[in-house]
Symmetry: C2
Subunit: 561 residues, 2 copies
């Protein structure tokens, strides 16, 4: 398999008949999926999503793809194709449209409806072009054909992109539930037709490439939910993702069957289900849904709540209920169902919620103990179907960390593809499809772009490094006042610390040590502000190390009067 190497430079000029593919997100990570296609001087973008920060990116709200390699070429962009409406595929669109507002957004009905709702929150009104599976339309030199795929949100699509350079199939996120709730199957027949035509490059979802076998059908959750509802004597609270229309549908159906009214809790849940209902994608029996403020009027056995917060987000309704810090009270005997995956990194937060609910006396049903969740991504068995149906000349695994990409590469190799036709790439690498061969030819800048509050890119690696130190160790600031004329210290040193010690019993001693060091330096003629600052930093650092064996950030401040 062709491997990246650290010495990649700028890519060479693209031959006129070539297609250039630059993933700006989603390769080497799960999230911020975005791929730029270039042909004949024009660009087509597929997806533009966000990545959620990990623990070593503290305080960050979102991470965007790095637009720097295309920001000077936005006029060349024909369109953005959105495969489906998950945040990791559409979440960064508002930030790209800030740079050029009229890039057409191409997508299915639900995808565009949720995208438009999101953009409205950013006070943006996009140019949109609705497409359905089977549509085949050109945007500049890119002819796009759309295929239905089944995923954990309705109305998802794969896109085939035809140019002079050949045919590329980008699956988006998909799985192949053979009994999907809405009957809308992943169009394997369409993929096979492309295979007959000749797929030059398959770009396929790798998220579950390490998982053997096949997905369990979404349908199989219904009997489990019904069992939970049948046994429940008091309230039932179901937490799931706010975009999982089919999961919510199954909870609505179970609630209706067991005589429970349903209240939706959480802003995104209310918004998304409103959209899905308006589009006819969520069937809501008349009178079933009530306002969550009215639940106390009904007996507990007639109540079902559907809530966000399945990942243990500390500010979510569910976390606050588990902490008894929410207007909706959870009581002994209530049943809480976490009908969702457990995203790696969220384990402790989710277990905290489960422990809180358990402590109160609620029964907690989660995927560890019952079949209340099934993944949205194709496992190895289904990926093999797609590889065999499309019989691609080249494969590039997308949407995954290295472990997923490599596992997907191994599957491609097992189907008989030569190793040199399997492209394992990561964000920022440039892959050129020329004369039927896909090759890594270079790289473009591709860092993390952090959103924190209102600012984009204002917090960078330097601030994050400081945050990690501050968060682990706290800081000590030390201030002196220097007379500008004489260079003498005329005030301070004042020591302040935060996050360092609750006691700070020892600080008079530190002040004395600094005073002595300063006095000695002044006797030696030191007057330079930055030299004084360095002396204070060094002196306090040594004192802290000797007394505490710690390394807080030390901030010397020298003020001239």
């Amino acid at each position: 398999m062709s491997r990246p190497h650290p010495g990649l430079g700028s890519p060479p000029p693209l031959p006129p008949s070539g297609l250039r593919i630059t993933p700006l997100g989603g390769l080497g990570e799960i999230g911020r999926n975005m791929t730029v296609f270039e042909h004949a001087g024009r660009l087509l973008i597929v997806d533009c999503g966000v990545l959620f920060p990990e623990n070593d990116q503290p305080g960050i709200d979102l991470i965007l793809p790095d637009f720097s390699s295309i920001v000077h070429r936005l006029d060349d962009v024909e369109a953005i194709v959105l495969t489906h409406a998950h945040e990791d595929h559409i979440g960064a669109v508002p930030y790209l449209l800030r740079e050029r507002a009229d890039i057409p957004l191409i997508g299915s009905r639900l995808t565009l409806a949720l995208m438009v709702a999101k953009l409205a929150e950013h006070r943006l009104t996009p140019v949109t072009v609705e497409v359905v599976e089977g549509d085949r339309r050109p945007w500049g030199p890119f002819e796009c054909e759309f295929f239905a795929v089944n995923h954990s949100i309705p109305d998802a699509m794969a896109v085939a992109i035809r140019t002079e350079a050949g045919l590329v199939l980008h699956t988006g996120d998909f799985k192949m539930d053979q009994l999907p709730l809405d009957g809308r199957l992943t169009d394997l027949g369409g993929f096979a037709r492309l295979g007959v035509e000749g797929v030059d490059l398959l770009m396929s979802d790798s998220t579950n490439a390490e998982v053997p076998g096949f997905v369990t059908s979404e349908r199989e959750i219904a009997p489990v939910l019904n069992g939970v509802f049948r046994e429940a004597r008091k309230r039932v609270i179901v937490a799931c993702f706010a975009s999982h229309v089919h999961r919510v549908q199954q909870v609505l159906d179970a609630a209706e069957a067991h005589g429970r009214s349903v209240a939706l809790v959480g802003r995104s849940m209310l918004r998304n289900m409103g959209v899905a209902r308006d589009l006819g994608l969520l069937r809501v029996p008349p009178g079933l849904i009530i306002d969550s403020r009215d639940i106390d009027a009904l007996p507990d056995r007639n109540i079902c709540l559907i809530s966000t917060g399945s990942q243990g987000e500390p500010l979510s309704a569910l976390s606050r209920m588990a902490n008894r810090d929410h207007s909706i009270r959870i009581n002994p005997g209530d049943t809480v169902v976490l009908a969702s995956s457990l995203i790696p990194g969220n384990e402790n937060a989710v277990f905290r919620v489960i422990n809180g609910l358990t402590r109160i006396g609620a029964r907690v049903v989660h995927k560890g103990v019952a079949m209340v969740h099934t993944s949205g991504h194709a496992p190895a068995g289904e990926l093999l179907y797609v590889l065999n149906a499309t019989r691609p000349s080249n494969v590039m695994p997308i949407h995954g960390e290295w472990r997923h990409l490599r596992a997907h590469g191994a599957l491609a190799e097992a189907t008989g593809l030569p190793p040199d036709r399997i492209v394992l790439a990561e964000d920022g690498m440039v892959i050129d499809l020329v004369d039927g061969l896909a090759r890594i030819t270079g790289a473009v800048p591709c860092g993390y772009v952090y959103v924190d509050g209102l600012a984009v890119g204002d917090v960078g690696e330097s601030s994050l490094k400081d945050r990690r130190i501050l968060g682990d160790e706290g800081f000590i600031s030390i201030t002196v006042v220097v007379d500008a004329a004489s260079g003498k210290v005329v005030g301070g040193p004042e020591l302040s610390a935060r996050g360092f010690s609750d006691a700070m019993s020892n600080f008079d001693n530190a002040r004395q040590v600094v005073e002595e060091a300063l006095a000695e330096a002044m006797r030696g003629g030191m007057t330079d502000k930055s030299a004084l600052g360095q002396l204070m930093r060094r002196t306090v650092g040594r004192w802290v190390n000797e007394n505490y064996r710690r390394r807080p950030m030390i901030l010397p401040v020298v003020v001239e009067v």
Copy 2:
């Protein structure tokens, strides 16, 4: 089941015939296991371990049990019984011995050997009393009988404690592998004998109470390891816990069978395996183990490394190898086996290591894809055996979070125990066993005691709260100099920020806003230092919120000259 309530006060005086049990750790959490038994004015402690911090306890090295309820009664302590040598059972002993150095430590041979090695690092030489299973000896009014149990470290024991109040069985951590590598079975027959005598209270390990069924035998890992070794063409690196003697034994055996020399990597691995070998618990064929500095002299196919770092610890050898930041290089084609559990909270760190190794081109085998690990704790099926063998009058689930304790309680109830005989308690609760009934009668102070660097208890909740804010948002400090006589500002304001913004392009504007606010306040006659500080904090806070929508810590410093 009797539930804790928030209104618990100090417990009433203990009747002379009663036994008081105070768990100071391990109930409501996984870690820092410690239980204090009191009878006839004397105390017996079982285990004294540490808890490892979570993400919301940044910078903390270790968390200790809160000794405050016993620290004034250390002269009453007869002994500390150590069930086995894991950190969460022995790690806090050095800190308790700082308070009274001559408390006798009771344990098996390996437990004491590892304990003594640990205490030597703290420059402590303890009083120890070695016991073996079958021993029955009094310490003050507590007659202790020891039972072999099987766990993920050799030489673990359960302890039965007989007093006038009755018979209590404390299992320690255990499982019931029926084909243990060393043939040392958990003594279910002994437990049954206690059952005939009459167990008044069973305190039993709950860690795996949510897991149905039975453990897989440690022995079943050998064929999997042999398969991995058979297929490997280059180096094999196995990471596992440094105390898991039997796991290391199986790796040694596989390495020997496949003609590979073994190098141990990691300080604790070297130390523990040295101790185990000296005690005859680890069988090392002559010449098999070589120094890790000598591995380059042998062909890759003749090398096996056994390393720590299976939890993705950033400074461990394995993490550094994955980052190519270690003298031992991992190369394409090497095989890395993570022969360990994945402790919740460590997922992202472990996946980072797996992705790093995969990116290099190594094959990574972990418990997600092969049977290279089996748990050390009894699942539900085995807990039922112990409940049925001992037929206790009262049960208190120990060693677990709330979800585990409650699941264990449900198992006890399923065996026929009345709900009011199942005590679900958490750290700091006082349980009195009087006239054959175990009841929660009160609570003692029981907070987290943090070790950070050299200091114990110096960093508390207040510092941690500050660290969380600093780590998420950074800080801005703002300094002015005030003339003590006139109360006028004569220097500054100086603004400094860390972790707030890489750019800080806007800070001149902030300084100006503060200057204006100060000038206006002075015109109004404000001279009080703390009022000036508050004004600066408020002004900068408002400016940050308007411009950034963030909430950094703001530290005003007013220096008088």
